[in-house]
């Protein structure tokens, strides 16, 4: 019960902060606090009555909720897909890496620091150029480099673009945390008892690092939502940020961000509950 109360409060605060932020451009433009308060009230009303909200599409008024679902789930599938692939592949590679000797691990870590500092725009540019280059050399079009219109949907390229940097972040963080965990005494004990290294790694160590990784993944997600905006504009994808960026009204920003946030919020709440339940920390509480 306490968890649910906390969650509702947190969700409410997220929404309020999004609504408060959405009014800020108007405040800066007009330098008028009372107009800001009015705007905030109007935006909150709009968000509360989301089913009545209208927007302008090529000059005609349309209901917001009627049009948003397709692009919304499209964006979500890209984002979730990228997050899942990045996380899972990083986890599997981490297990593999931890079996390697220590000097190879040091090299891998240095390479990862280098990869980590690649700007995201550079990654997108390289993926774009790579696909074009492969097409020029072999005549094989791996995937469309841009979506044409609202109906065509591309998955491979945006997911690939979105997952590369989060994968590097996860991979490096997991190696660091797992190495720290491996130096603890219970690992030594279990190795001395003759348990296989891989078994200890997968079953015990991963369970203990999962909480830290989980908290870290929040900031990765934070970074990914920002990147989604860039990816959708660069590849001309008709997703949810299309509405956000092209409409540019406070109501629109607030509604889209809240829609985008809610599923992740629920997933994170569920994950937190599971981790609380199944780790040592949960047992001692």
């Amino acid at each position: 019960m306490r968890i649910i109360k906390k969650l509702v409060l947190q969700l409410l605060l997220t929404m309020i902060s999004i609504i408060l932020i959405s009014g800020l451009p108007g405040l800066i433009m007009n330098k008028d606090v009372s107009a800001y308060v009015d705007k905030i009230a109007a935006v909150s009303l709009e968000v509360l009555r989301l089913d009545k909200m209208i927007y302008f599409n090529q000059g005609s008024e349309r209901l917001f909720l009627e049009d948003i679902w397709g692009p919304y789930f499209y964006s979500l599938s890209i984002l979730f897909g990228a997050l899942c692939i990045a996380f899972c592949s990083a986890q599997i590679l981490t297990w593999g890496t931890l079996l390697l000797p220590i000097f190879i691990r040091r090299i891998i870590k240095n390479v990862l620091t280098f990869l980590e500092s690649m700007p995201d725009l550079l990654v997108f540019a390289l993926v774009q150029m790579g696909i074009v280059l492969i097409y020029k050399k072999t005549g094989l079009l791996v995937s469309n480099v841009a979506a044409l219109g609202a109906e065509s949907r591309i998955y491979l390229v945006p997911i690939a673009c979105l997952m590369i940097l989060p994968f590097v972040y996860f991979y490096k963080m997991m190696i660091l945390m797992t190495e720290e965990e491996m130096s603890k005494q219970y690992v030594e004990t279990s190795l001395a008892k003759g348990m296989r290294r891989l078994y200890v790694l997968v079953v015990h160590v991963t369970r203990n690092t999962s909480e830290g990784i989980f908290h870290f993944s929040k900031s990765v997600l934070w970074f990914m939502i920002s990147n989604l905006l860039l990816v959708e504009i660069i590849f001309n994808i008709h997703g949810i940020t299309h509405y956000m960026y092209h409409d540019f009204r406070p109501e629109m920003l607030a509604a889209c961000l809240i829609l985008l946030v809610i599923p992740f919020f629920l997933v994170y709440a569920a994950m937190e509950w599971i981790i609380m339940r199944f780790t040592v920390r949960g047992r001692t509480l």
Partner: protein
Amino acid sequence: MIRSYKFWIGFSMIFGLILSSLIFSVLFDSHVRQVQILYDDHMEMIGAAPFQPSLMFPMGTDALGYDIAMKVLQGAKYTLFSVILIGFLRVLVSFMFAIPLAIYMPEKIRGNLEQLLSAFYFVPLTIVSVFILTPVLWEQLRMPGWEEYFIFPYYARVGIEIFVLTILVVPLLGSMIGNIIASSLKEDFIKGALVLGASRWRIFSKHVMPHVWPKLVIVFFQQCVQVLIIFIHLGYFKLFFGGTDVDYNPLIPDPPVSTTNEWSGLIGDYYNLIHINPGIALGPIIMFGVAIYSFQLMAEGLLQYLDSRNVNVKRNKKKNKLSSVLQEKSVSIGKFEFTERVKSEVK
């Protein structure tokens, strides 16, 4: 002295960039070379702008023949100084915010507050800052009279940009720094100092700060990286540091340009060239990568240095005191339980 080659490599790269940019502006007045047509010895034309990257033009030239490497050099000081300034302000303001949070709040309230503040993880910074800064940085058009104008004067624009980029991360960063301070307040030597009658200020300045400030420096480097990434994003959306000069000429409008050649402006100007002249478009982005890598190296080098220093301290303590052994046992009770559980599972 910080004994870490990584730190010094990163430091010298950033310092070198700023220094050479300053020298370029003081001695050469930041004059950017312009070459539109290239002739060989017999005065025959062998090429015209834009040039691809070559030995003569390390990063190529743009369509008007301006040397991009020189533009990058000219802009380095603005970008890097503003990044360092914003990073510093972020840490400073968050630290101010964190002190009362860590010292005067009871544990329970702080935990709840932190939970609430973590709601900010779901407010993506790029989208919000693009949204807030567009009216500030984008040049507007006043219709009667066809007059281009900014809503704010130059210094107000820079000030607002710095303020917005600083204040948006304070909730998250503040609660993180609050945690760092609170965890060092839980150490045993703090209790010892309290027993001996130290005042709050003395505990804070003499016992907490020596532990906290190296971590703050690392957080500062990480924040510099974050600011650089935000600058790249803003540059892609053509929101340049200090304002975007938009040409509203109805016939053949010039593309939006940055007035100071700072790097995010260069990204915004040249990114559209990615398919025609990739070498030209990638130059400024790669420079951003170099800057990010340098800050990462500094953070990592400092961290490694601090770790190795701590290990030495611990070793000395173990030699001298039995009490540290006792302490370790009490700390590791949690894991002890876990090894017990491992046993039972194996059976």
